[in-house]
Structures are given as C-alpha cells and as structure tokens.
Symmetry: D2
Subunit: 137 residues, 4 copies
C-alpha cells in the first residue's frame, strides 16, 4: 500500500514531454505544500514535492494548469535510480499522480481527473469510471 494526498500550488508551469520510443505523454511539475505550522524563525515553511503524471492526465495537467494554481493530488510515492552527469548513481523520490483536482477558479472550472480519464472537455465535466448498482449491505 502506497498512498499520497497533497494539496498545494504549482511552483511553475508544468512541463510535458514524450517517451522516446512510444511517445507516451509525461508531465512533471513541483507542488509547494504549506506546512501546518510556522517554522522557527524564518525557516522554510513549505515542502516542494516533485509530481509526475502520465498519458491523459499528463495532457490534462499540461493544458489546464499554470504556475500558482491550487490543486489536490492523489497518487503514490515512487523511487528510481538514475545516473548523474558525473556517472554516479542518484536516487529520486517522486509522487506519481493518479488523480488531480482543481481547487481554485472553482466557479468556472472544477473537476477531479483520474489517471485513465479521457481528456477533459471545456465544460470541465466528469467522466464515467465505474458507477455501481445499489449496495445490499
């Protein structure tokens, strides 16, 4: 089990790229998440958390979000090894988003979007995922 939920603001516009062979969309951004207390005497009071989105969610984020926007992200923590320029091994820890919810501009455009959603329409509407019948508990 590996669950993360964050609420924060984008520190910059998101960046979209495409994987080399397969052309899959991947968007990255950093989320500034306020700590729930005032740091002692001028210390940093937010965490800057790297977030990665794939496929439809990558396109949705790249097309609809900009620096400063307030969002909620749910996903999981992923670690990976990579080679730095100097050839040494480094380890990165990132959040892989599987759901993003826009929290400001709530009047015009709101919605939660999941990792496998179709791209959102202008109406910012929701898409069916798996509506269930009534529950006979």
């Amino acid at each position: 089990m590996n669950k993360v939920i964050l609420i924060g603001r984008l520190t910059r516009d998101p960046e979209i790229r495409y994987t080399a062979g397969t052309g899959i969309a991947v968007t990255t951004f950093t989320l500034a998440v306020d700590r729930p207390y005032i740091g002692q005497s001028g210390q940093r009071e937010a965490d800057f958390i790297p977030v990665v989105c794939w496929r439809k969610l990558a396109e949705l984020v790249a097309n609809n979000l900009t620096k400063g926007r307030l969002i909620a992200v749910s996903g999981s923590i992923q670690t990976r090894k990579y080679q730095a320029q100097d050839g040494t091994n480094r380890y990165a820890t990132e959040v892989i988003a599987d759901e993003v919810k826009f929290l400001d501009r709530a009047k015009e455009q709101t919605g939660a979007f999941k990792a496998n959603d179709e791209i959102a329409t202008d109406e910012g509407d929701f898409f069916p995922v798996d509506g269930e019948d009534d529950i006979p508990f």
Copy 2:
C-alpha cells in the same frame, strides 16, 4: 490505522453544541463530496458525509465556515451505537475531523487547522505544532 481525507462543500451551516457535564465544544456538519464520475442517468453524484469536530477545531469551524464553503478534512472514521426514539439500537458512522483546511476564498483567508490548535486569529494564520530540526538522513 484509520485515515480519511475528503474534499467537499458544507451542505449547511455547521452546528455547535456542548457536552452536558464538561461543556466541551462539538461541531457537526455534512460534507457533500462529488463522486469522480457522472452517475448513470441522473442518479446522485455526491456522497453526503457526516463530520464531527471537537474542542478548538469545533469552534474554529463553527465561527468561520458556512453552507457552501469548500474545505478539505482529514480524520478518521468512527462508529457508534445509539438508541433511536423507538428504543431500537442504531449504528452511526461519522468522520471525526482532526484537520480542516479552507480551500475557497484562498486570497483573503486560508489555512489548515488541527484538532488541538488554538483558536484562529482573523489573519487565518498557522500555529506552531512541532517544528523539527534538520534531518540527518
């Protein structure tokens, strides 16, 4: 382990009461949480989740939130048995909030508040909880 995180809107103004003997503040409200998909053919598309806050958080919520406000709640699920008017036993399931974050009116007033916080000032500022030293990982 018993963790809940919700984002939604108050269906009404919160209600504050005080426990009989000890006069402890307890505030209750219902949070409308949109489901991430369109229900098939006009079905209900939100869950209406009962939330309970205690003490300082109870006062904070009662004094600062009203019907329609967008918030994030973290807490836990609690169940309890009670007697209905007809004398039969009933079971209630509620979320006990230990943190509430105001998400709209983000410009004027924002903040996350925890179950044991002092009452918030008008500035909507944060209060120290347990700032830590640097981490020697």
Copy 3:
C-alpha cells in the same frame, strides 16, 4: 476527493451476494479497527466499519478471507439512502473498497488486490495494472 485507508480485522466471514438483474458480485463485511488509545474505563476501543467490495474484488475477498483476518483496505466513503422495514428513510455510510491487502499469513500468501483485478491465483501473485516507462523528471 474521497480517500479512506483502514487496517483491521474481519469481525465475521464476508458475505457475497449478486445484484438482481445483472448478477454482479458484491461482498460485504465489517472491519474492526483498533483505536490508537485506550478508552477511558472500559469503553469500546475499536470502530466497526462496514465495507463493500464489487466484482472481482468481491469474489477474491469472499473466497480468501475469513473472520479474524488482518487486512488493509483502501477505498472511499459512500452514503446511500434506503427504506427501513417501517417505511422510514435511513442513511447508511460505508466504505467502498478498491484495494485489499492481506496482512497476516504473510509468508504463505500475501498480495494487494485492486477493484479491477483478475481473480487471484493460488500463488497469491500480483497482476499488471499499468506499469510505466522510466520517468524523465
């Protein structure tokens, strides 16, 4: 956003049923989740939380879990209105599971299972969901 994570034990064997028209499997059970503190003077020290699983996950749970087993559940809170025998409206609050992880008997049989998984083999192995390429952060 509507996220729940619980760790607890089944109070009884799970019950499986099938929806009337469509024959979709739905399994229900109650999870006893210990509170993180000792109740004052012999009060209840666990919450008894109703959990519902659908489809493959319903079958997996019904076939593999019994009273007393320790599991982790992730899902969401759902509320619904129903008619009691006396014709009055009642409201139920339940957790809809989308992932269940078996935590005891960890040597012989472990695994996390998601709402849309194929039914598990005897090996208790994992099934592909959406393995991703490397992340160019």
Copy 4:
C-alpha cells in the same frame, strides 16, 4: 495537506542518531513497498522509500524493529536541500513518520505508535491520546 500511508518492510535495521546541540533522537530507515503489479520483464517491483522518525517514535522504532519487519507508516512528505560532498546542492525527499504500526508478529506484539507517544512497554500496549465523550450528531 500532506498525507502519506505506506505498508512495507524495512530493508535494514533502523539507525538512530541524536541531533548535535539538543540531543533529540532521530531514526532513519528505508521501507520497501511492493508495487501492486508485476513490472514488465524483471524490472524492479518495489519502491524504496526513506523514512524518518523523531523523538519517542525514533526510540520505539530503533528498539523494536529490525530488517524485514512489516509495518504501516503514516506521515507526510518532506523535502530538504543539502550540500553534497562536491559542494553542489541536492534535494532529498523523505517521509516523516508520525505513526507506525507493527503488522507481523501480531500475536505477541502489536500496536500503533504515534509521534508523541511515551515509549512503549513490553506489553506493546496503547497509550491514551485524546479519548472523546459521546458524539451528539
């Protein structure tokens, strides 16, 4: 809002240190968290997540956990900047634990421990946190 929940096993015995001036206990370990699917063709199928505990929880973890133990952790993601040996700035992302629950050896010793708990007794019992009166919802 910044919430993390992980279930996994320690990759090694935890390491305890004490902050320079103030002598506060801080324990670090890495948690191996299985991914919920089989990686394509022999790729890594777990994330290795750095976890940090402070004070009482640091001592509890250092004294009671060893390599291979299965635990649940709840906490938050924290990022920090540090200087590498070569003088360049690096960024680390870690989970700061505020609750740890032991999941194996459930017969002999179980319990959930919070960031501010007293040190656990041998009985592995729970400690009072904030038991509440009945809820007049």
